[in-house]
């Protein structure tokens, strides 16, 4: 005999008879965290190798335009790595939230109670929005570095203009990385919210299952 749960005032929840599956961001997180990590692990050594090549070019007195172009390509490769690894972290957090959602539902279902699932908290919505902003800033900076690198290597772009753009793009990269870190802190704060809800809900289950 299951006692119907009282309406909640402390948390916004949806009530169902069975455990819900992961939502769309959580499914995306489950599918993409590993490919993103793989991309990062490939990009970082490429960025390091281009740095070593650039050092060799400086040592051998190569053309300054080519040295600057290689610097831009190296930075682009390194920040493909950072964009990917931060995406992988964000997707891994989404995956953890998915496990809480499905696992918490499964426990309630096994106990024979109504399944209460926390609605998406505001921290989770802000996490998704800021993650996309951070990703767009980093991808834009990477594209900018590649365009500047091509311009310098082909001689279409003067060295001073290339330097000017490299300084601007550095600022964009920094803002993008900090935004990504803020998004990650919001994703982790969502885990705190979910843990609080599950702690409260666990303590309610025995009373609801008692006939």
């Amino acid at each position: 005999m299951t006692r119907a749960p009282a309406p909640r005032n402390d948390y916004a929840v949806s009530v169902s008879g069975s455990a819900p599956g992961p939502n769309v961001p959580q499914r995306v997180g489950r599918a993409l965290w590993l490919p993103m990590l793989a991309m990062a692990i490939m990009a970082f050594p490429i960025g390091l190798a281009l740095g070593v090549v650039r050092a060799g070019m400086i040592g051998s007195g190569a053309d300054a335009q080519l040295v600057a172009a290689t610097g831009n390509f190296g930075t682009a490769a390194m920040f493909v790595g950072f964009a990917s690894v931060f995406a992988a972290i964000s997707f891994a957090i989404a995956r953890i939230l998915g496990v809480f959602r499905t696992g918490g539902g499964a426990v309630q279902e096994a106990a024979g109670t109504a399944v209460q699932t926390l609605r998406m908290p505001s921290t989770a919505k802000a996490f998704l929005a800021l993650m996309m902003m951070g990703m767009m800033a980093l991808v834009a900076a990477v594209i900018g570095h590649v365009i500047v690198g091509i311009g310098l290597a082909s001689g279409d772009l003067a060295l001073a203009i290339g330097e000017q753009w490299a300084i601007w793009l550095e600022g964009v990269r920094r803002a993008g990385l900090a935004t990504y870190l803020l998004a990650i802190s919001l994703g982790l704060a969502t885990i705190v919210v979910v843990l609080r809800f599950q702690t409260v809900r666990l303590r309610e289950l025995p009373a609801e299952t008692a006939g």
Binding site: G51, I58, F82, V85, T123, G171, L202, R203
Partner: protein
């Protein structure tokens, strides 16, 4: 009972009820980091415009302190992440206590003989050991519990010490370019060592969360008088430890190499050395961040295993997908 007391004493320094407050504080600190990054962005936009206008003289000084501020911005945002993770550690403890209270009234009468249970089983989440008592704490979990706070403290001190150095560097750039370059090498080495220490501290905080999940899950099963199922260390956890160690070594190496570079600031080889040291220090951070991804993946796996076990304890039917090996 002794295990329970041990676990409770281990958790004494952990915030039990302050998880939400720590989460808010952590997010606020991270917002502070974003604001610092915006200062660095504006500085970069002005410096770039100065280059375009041909007023190059002031640019090196602007870039010098801009670098210090940007790295401090990342460190501040990472400190925010660490504070939120500390809140999660406390919440995990509170969840274990709620399980200990609720499960005895939810779990069906035991059909397991805990004392006779031992061995290895296969579960949908990987191999798990079965024992009658909670397993001893792993060395990496003890190290994580001890080291996360000192590493974060040292990291913050190094990054902000480097920020002060970058301000000194920017004021000396015009008068003595060689001294400015030497100071710049120290700024980069010290600040990125600090960034590495911060990410190492965050990695150890994730290790502390894993330790709380493992120890707490085992204690709950033991208190119920059931066989204790503990997930064996997944491959992601082993790779996490390897990448974290490698990343820390790279960050320490780049610090030593930047210290050396500061002694050859007047030499033509300085430019070539700087050209690969920059990517090297970022490569080290990349390794640490990759390790963090794997730690988060391990947490997801361990949580999945715990929900599977709890559901199995509550369910009447035995788990058909667990195979004893």
């Amino acid at each position: 009972m002794s295990t329970n007391l041990t676990t409770l004493s281990r958790s004494r320094s952990i915030p039990r009820q302050g998880g939400a407050g720590l989460a808010r504080l952590g997010v606020a600190v991270a917002v502070g980091g974003v604001m610092l990054a915006m200062v660095s962005l504006i500085n970069g936009l002005i410096a770039g415009s100065e280059v375009a206008a041909g007023n190059d003289a002031a640019v090196p000084a602007m870039l010098a302190w801009g670098f210090g501020v940007a790295t401090a911005a990342f460190a501040t945002a990472k400190l925010g992440v660490a504070v939120v993770l500390w809140g999660i550690v406390g919440r995990v403890r509170a969840r274990v206590e709620a399980m200990s209270e609720a499960l005895p009234r939810l779990v069906t009468p035991s059909r397991e003989d805990a004392a006779a249970s031992s061995g290895v089983i296969r579960t949908p989440y990987g191999a798990a050991t079965v024992s009658s008592e909670p397993p001893p704490e792993l060395l990496i979990h003890r190290a994580s519990r001890l080291l996360w706070a000192p590493m974060i403290a040292m990291g913050v001190m190094a990054v902000y010490g480097g920020l002060v150095l970058s301000v000194v560097q920017s004021s000396s750039m015009a008068s003595d370019a060689v001294a400015g370059r030497a100071l710049g090498a120290w700024v980069q080495g010290v600040q990125f060592l600090g960034e590495g220490l911060l990410l190492g501290g965050i990695s150890f905080l994730l290790g502390t969360i894993l330790a709380s999940l493992r120890g707490g899950g085992a204690d709950v099963q033991a208190r119920l008088g059931r066989a204790v199922h503990t997930l064996r260390m997944p491959i992601t956890a082993k790779l996490f430890i390897g990448l974290m160690a490698l990343g820390m070594m790279v960050e320490m190496a780049q610090f030593g190499l930047y210290a050396y570079a500061s002694t050859v600031a007047a030499d033509p080889s300085f430019a070539a050395l700087s050209a690969w040291l920059g990517p090297l220090r970022e490569f080290g951070l990349g390794l640490l961040l990759s390790g963090i991804v794997l730690a988060l993946a391990t947490i997801a796996r361990v949580l999945g295993f715990q929900f599977h076990r709890v559901t199995g304890l509550i369910d009447r039917a035995p788990h058909s997908n667990e195979v004893k090996s």
